[in-house]
């Protein structure tokens, strides 16, 4: 599949170019952020997950700009190509990791499979949070935010997580609908 391999090659080239920062500092900083969120929400796990997703969303809507400016990616004609660019180019460029892209049939959803997860380095969840806290839900927010800026309204869920004992991290992305371009209804001329 040519779109897959060219996306991967592009990701590799971009990763070689971008300035780097230490992944351990990245992981520890995220850990510090999660700790703050946890201590601010009195142990309400839903609230924690929601807050972390929101933080991801706000990263997503800004990082997509940088990605489009730097990546020079070809125009994506369908969701499959978008999925490949997201998984093979964007994840590589920002996080330096390779992830597998799995397209479902019908092609309205896809999965990103991460063999290596920079966020969960040094992390172990305590028993009372193990099954409920979605530590890496940040990714879901980032993907949702980034794709929303490209007019894709999506829903992301963490299907597998190494922190819960799975052997990989898997993020499933479901396309809900495609937003229309143009100004919102409030701004339309009467």
């Amino acid at each position: 599949m040519s779109s897959k391999s060219s996306a991967a090659a592009n990701g590799q080239a971009l990763w070689a170019k971008v300035p780097k920062a230490n992944a351990e500092l990245f992981a520890l900083t995220y850990g510090a952020l999660v700790m703050e969120v946890v201590s601010d929400s009195d142990g309400n796990v839903d609230e924690i997950n929601e807050q972390l997703e929101k933080i991801g969303y706000s990263i997503g809507i800004r990082s997509v700009d940088e990605f489009l400016a730097k990546s020079n990616s070809p125009y994506c004609k369908n969701l499959e190509e978008t999925a490949n660019v997201l998984g093979k180019t964007a994840f590589k460029m920002f996080l330096g990791i390779n992830c597998d892209v799995q397209i479902y049939n019908p092609p309205t959803s896809f999965s990103l499979i991460l063999h290596d997860n920079p966020l969960s380095l040094f992390v172990e969840l305590p028993d009372n949070y193990k099954d409920t806290l979605q530590y890496t839900i940040l990714y879901c927010g980032v993907i949702r935010g980034a794709l929303e800026m490209l007019n894709y309204k999506v829903e992301c869920t963490l299907i597998k997580s190494t922190l819960r004992g799975d052997d990989v991290d898997e993020i499933k992305v479901d396309l809900k609908n495609i937003l229309q371009d143009g100004a919102g209804e409030d701004y339309q001329e009467e």
């Binding site: 230490n22 990245f26 900083t29 510090a32 703050e36 920002f94 063999h115 920079p118 040094f122 799975d166």
Partner: protein, 221 residues
């Protein structure tokens, strides 16, 4: 490739394999850090409170980093002298965390209990511009928290504060050539080419507690 879910204490300490792999892009880190700052900013009503919260976030990270570095270096000997620990912070800790040694370490002229670690290109404020109405806010509070955590963990309790200080005429150019040649990595070279030169340097003021200085003086006798 797949990692078997073993107890975290049984996992190798080397991070994610080879050296090249233990990196993420600077922008990914900066996005995350900016979210950390914004998260705190939404929950405080004063600048000093924001700095304090950033410092406390960094403090826990500092404790962990100290442990990580000492295990990794197999340094089972503890640093007990004041100057040694400061060197350790400004070289080893800085290299491990920020990818380059700190630019200089100075002793305050007026106060003997104060030391300054100076970084001309502090990582955390790479993409940060402080609004005018935020006054003296230094976005590097997180870094000073890390320094405080490392020092405290090593038994040198200290108050560490970050200050952004405007560069003097000529200081910047001098330094830019210095850093790119001394660290030699593609890292600082890349940063330099993409970003305008910094107008401010970060000064981390380390003020040790009196008992730490007494202890150090006692060892000289």
């Amino acid at each position: 490739m797949s990692r078997t879910p073993v107890n975290i204490l049984d996992r190798p300490l080397g991070g994610r394999g080879s050296r090249a792999e233990t990196q993420v892009s600077l922008s990914a880190f900066s996005y995350l850090y900016s979210e950390l700052v914004q998260y705190h900013q939404n929950r405080v009503d004063s600048i000093s409170e924001l700095e304090r919260r950033l410092e406390s976030s960094g403090y826990d990270v500092g404790l962990k980093i100290l442990e990580l570095i000492t295990y990794r270096n197999r340094e089972y000997k503890r640093e007990i002298r004041l100057m040694n620990i400061l060197h350790f912070v400004s070289t080893q800790v800085w290299k491990a965390v920020f990818g380059k040694p700190a630019d200089s370490l100075e002793r305050s002229v007026e106060n003997t209990d104060e030391f300054m670690i100076i970084d001309y290109e502090p990582l955390t404020s790479t993409f940060c511009s402080v609004p005018a109405d935020f006054g003296q806010l230094s976005a590097d509070g997180y870094m000073s928290g890390i320094v405080a955590g490392v020092l405290d963990g090593a038994g040198f309790s200290a108050r560490v504060t970050a200050h952004s200080v405007a560069l003097e005429e000529g200081e910047a150019n001098n330094n830019n050539t210095n850093t790119s040649s001394s660290s030699g990595g593609a890292q600082s070279g890349n940063n330099g080419s993409l970003l305008p030169p910094r107008k401010e340097k970060a000064v981390f003021l380390v003020k040790f507690s009196p008992e730490v200085l007494e202890r150090d003086a006692a060892m000289d006798r």
